[in-house]
């Protein structure tokens, strides 16, 4: 009997197991396969805090959630249709997110007495056997045993054999969701290029998993998701940190500047460094500094020398960079600061996501120190906004923050990538000897946007000194004159405010241009807000979604957009930071929906809040 194929519009599947079980790899492979097939999708990897927490424990559970569909997908999914668990701890940690009637694919070898003990199952009885899962479709598979059986003649040791068991699971999942193995086979060939025996072993186990589904009567139903209707074009799958790195490289290329990246390892920003370090053939210079302060200071040195200086970190590292960012502001040099936000304060939740560094970016320095801030909405949008941060920094000779977060950094989505020619080009406004006035060079002479020129060491005649001490406008000489200080503070503020003239106007992402409720988002809340607002508008409610990418200064029409609605709701993964900015800048009584749990919003949470607001408006 072969299983029947049921077509469905979307599937949310969560892979979970020990961090040593290859969960991230399995999830990524299944994601790429679906992406190449043509589904729209969104992913959410969830890492344990420890690199290798004790095996089999709840603390060690690593997860990878994928939502794919033939319809437009905005989030990694609120609830799962299928749960793939390698052990009992993984089941225990994730069962609550499985829909009633959902599928559980379980490696029974991870449900033995030892695993029950490690996962603190008090009854000592496996949930696979105690009837507690009767509301779900459970597929227990002896993955470890079957894998060992499959490779018993391979000559590999048990340890190596056991490492391939995720391929068995992947094979089974590919079968169950009607996808072929081609992409994974190619991937294995590439990954184990130098170890043909591992290519063979992994491929064999992959196929065994696939055929296990086909030949045993484990499942009677398979699921198929058609291609998504997406805009025409060529796509690839893209993760946030990778997109950030590519955005920086593209910006350097399109401005003709050398990219210098000073950085210190920190979760979840390090992957940007790793990605950039691979692309030295683009002239990229990466510098792993001795600490966060050196990372930013080296980038400032590079900018002084005419390169595109970029530094990156996460919240704790950004805190250390504060003084140097103030220096860049005083020097009026381009500098891009990437903050891949994570749960705070202090060390906080390093592997979890949060948006609580907005006020730090906008205000977190000594003195009157305005710094422009932009933020990405989705993983692929990191490319656009990292690029934009570079453009604004260079065109306005000033530091610019680019905010990403842990959820964007590790999440993935299909990306209709641009070609080089489609990207804007921009230039540094370099000073030349023709800028000399009576043989003198004025480093702080400004154009109509109050931007000074970039005078690069090595240029004859433009020798000048800059520094962090207050300076006289024009000459740049040290000045303690009270009126000059007021003038310079005003000038720097106006200079940053002028950036608003150089950014796109705020648009409405979804819904009417006026109405009852505007759900205003920034950063990675994009998908959940859009999915919620889509549902609500389809249900006939007067709700719209706007997503602000330029957070300081705001786009010129921003207030007008906000005032076109009776109420503004701002969901944020913080305690109301954008809300505070909106209230103080425009005196608009925006309402907050705030969550700081280290996990993203669900669509449902946002819908509920909007419905509650609509209800109040009627009353």
């Amino acid at each position: 009997m072969s299983a029947t194929l049921e077509t469905t519009k979307e599937i949310t599947i969560l892979f979970a197991g020990d961090s040593g079980d290859g969960i991230q790899l399995t999830g990524t492979q299944f994601t790429d396969t679906n992406a190449l097939f043509g589904n729209d999708l969104s992913t959410f990897p969830n890492f344990p805090a420890e690199i290798r927490a004790p095996q089999g424990t709840l603390a060690g559970v690593s997860g990878f959630q994928l939502h794919f569909g033939s319809i437009e997908i905005f989030t990694p999914g609120d609830e799962c249709d299928a749960l793939v668990v390698m052990n009992v701890a993984a089941l225990k940690a994730n069962l609550k997110s499985l829909k009633k009637g959902g599928i559980i694919i379980a490696n029974t070898d991870g449900f033995d007495a030892k695993n029950l003990r490690l996962a603190k199952v008090e009854s000592g009885v496996s949930p696979l056997e105690d009837g507690s899962l009767s509301n779900y479709k459970v597929f227990p598979i002896e993955v470890t045993k079957l894998t060992r059986e499959c490779l018993k003649d391979s000559g590999l040791g048990t340890k190596d054999i056991d490492r391939t068991k995720n391929m068995f699971v992947l094979g089974f999942v590919l079968w169950m969701f009607d996808r072929n193995m081609d992409h994974t086979v190619d991937f294995l060939k590439e990954k184990f290029k130098k170890k043909p025996e591992l290519v063979e072993a992994n491929t064999k186990v992959l196929k065994a998993g696939y055929h296990y589904g086909d030949t045993t009567e484990t499942a009677t139903t398979r699921f198929s998701v058609d291609k998504a209707e997406m805009p025409k074009g060529t796509y690839r799958n893209m993760m946030g940190n990778q997109a950030t790195a590519l955005g920086l490289i593209a910006a350097a290329r399109r401005s003709g500047l050398e990219l210098f990246y000073g950085s210190y390892p920190i979760t979840p920003a390090s992957d940007v460094l790793h990605e950039l370090a691979k692309h030295k053939n683009f002239g990229v210079k990466t510098f792993q500094a001795e600490d966060e302060i050196a990372a930013v200071a080296s980038a400032i040195g590079a900018s002084f020398g005419g390169a595109l200086g970029v530094t990156a970190s996460s919240g704790p590292g950004i805190a250390l960079k504060g003084e140097a960012i103030g220096l860049a502001l005083m020097l009026e040099l381009p500098l891009v600061i990437v903050n891949v936000q994570r749960g705070g304060p202090s060390t906080g939740l390093p592997t979890k996501t949060e948006q609580a560094d907005l006020l730090q970016a906008v205000y977190g320095r000594n003195g009157e120190a305005p710094v422009a801030v932009v933020a990405a909405a989705t993983p692929a949008d990191c490319f656009n906004m990292a690029f934009e941060a570079c453009r604004l920094a260079v065109q306005h000779m000033t530091p610019v923050f680019f905010l990403s977060d842990g959820y964007l950094a590790n999440g993935a989505e299909p990306w209709k990538f641009p070609t080089e020619d489609e990207l804007p080009s921009f230039k540094g406004n370099f000073a030349t000897p023709s800028d000399l006035k009576d043989g003198e060079y004025l480093p702080y002479e400004r154009d109509e946007n109050l931007v000074r020129k970039w005078a690069i060491p090595g240029t004859l005649g433009l020798e000048h000194r800059v520094g962090g001490i207050e300076k006289q406008d024009g000459t740049g000489n040290i000045s303690y004159d009270p009126d000059n200080h007021q003038h310079m503070v005003n000038t720097r503020a106006q200079k940053v405010a002028n950036i608003a003239k150089n950014v796109p106007l705020q648009d409405i992402e979804l819904g009417a241009k006026t109405g009852k409720v505007l759900v205003l988002g920034w950063g990675s809340t994009y998908g959940a807000i859009k999915a919620a607002v889509k549902d609500l508008t389809e249900e006939g409610h007067s709700v719209s979604h706007a997503h602000v990418r330029y957070l300081f200064p705001f786009p010129q029409n921003f207030e007008e957009v906000l005032r076109s609605f009776d109420t503004v709701l701002i969901p944020e993964m913080n305690m109301g930071q954008l809300r505070m900015m909106i209230r103080s800048e425009f005196l608009i009584p925006a309402v907050g929906l705030n969550k700081v749990k280290g996990i993203p919003f669900t669509k449902g949470e946002i819908k509920d809040k909007v419905l509650e607001l609509l209800d109040q408006l009627i009353k």
């Binding site: 690839r236 490289i249 590079a302």
Partner: protein, 341 residues
Amino acid sequence: MAEVLNGAMTAKELETDQEVRWCPGCGDYSILKQVQKVIPELGIKREDIVFISGIGCSSRFPYYMNTYGMHSIHGRAPAVVSGLKSTNPDLSVWMITGDGDALSIGGNHLIHLLRRNFDINVLLFNNQIYGLTKGQYSPTSEEGKHTKSTPMGSLDHPFNPAALCLGADSTFFARSMDRDPVHMRDVLLRASQHKGTSMVEIYQNCNVFNDGAFFGFTDKETKKQQTLFVEHGKPMIFGENNEFGIKLDGFTPVIVNMDSASADDLWIHDEKDRGKANILARFYGNPASEGELPRPFGIFYSEDRACYEDLLVKQVETAKEKFGDGDLNALLRGKNTWTIS
């Protein structure tokens, strides 16, 4: 205009229109003067010279040099120069710092700068005090130092900058003093010729908050007794009438009377000998005390080692050879794509 643009210069042309604001009598003046004298001899174009400093009295230096310059933030100049040199390897970069700036707040950056060996010149003005903040003890102040912040005497054991720098694998270390301009010029010249991080410690008198800290080494009456001027290939001899020598007894330096020893028995200074440079760095007692070794001046150590910026440039070149000049379209496209038509 023509004069400004010809690139050649005199000491005079290296001065700026900014009033020099150190306290009258400060040792910084002498250092500024010697630097302005030495630089024109180097044959480097003025536009290719950059002075970068941190914070402190000495760190005002860049404002007084008519070159490119940056007065950065406290302790971070080593990181600024690292970024600048990484992207502009051909510039002649001079870093100006003090004992507080380099050894306290910027201590971490300094040691990493030294191990990476960027080709720059570091002038560490050591006055054993915090001048700009008006007189607190510094990381090089002697134990028990009475200052505003240590009315009962400081508890800190001081850093020995020579030992610290050599410990961080510095490829060049030299010591000089504000009151010996000729020696300082020689040392500066050698430092600028060294390819790699040239670390020059300059004893600098802060006549306001720590007057006379180095008088034993600079005053006529005591100088010859308390100092040892080392020169490559020359025996170590000191004293009013060169009556003393230094001999190595195994690894232990001992003072010998030249009446009973010949120059052949003495320690012959070898700049290339790291082990002996480390022994020399440990001549750090108070030479005014009976039996103590004199304080060495001159070039302790000089070694050729690859510079970070050169290796970095080479990696970029190697990557280009191996993978071709970056093709942005190919990078954006990646390996796995699908098309929706």
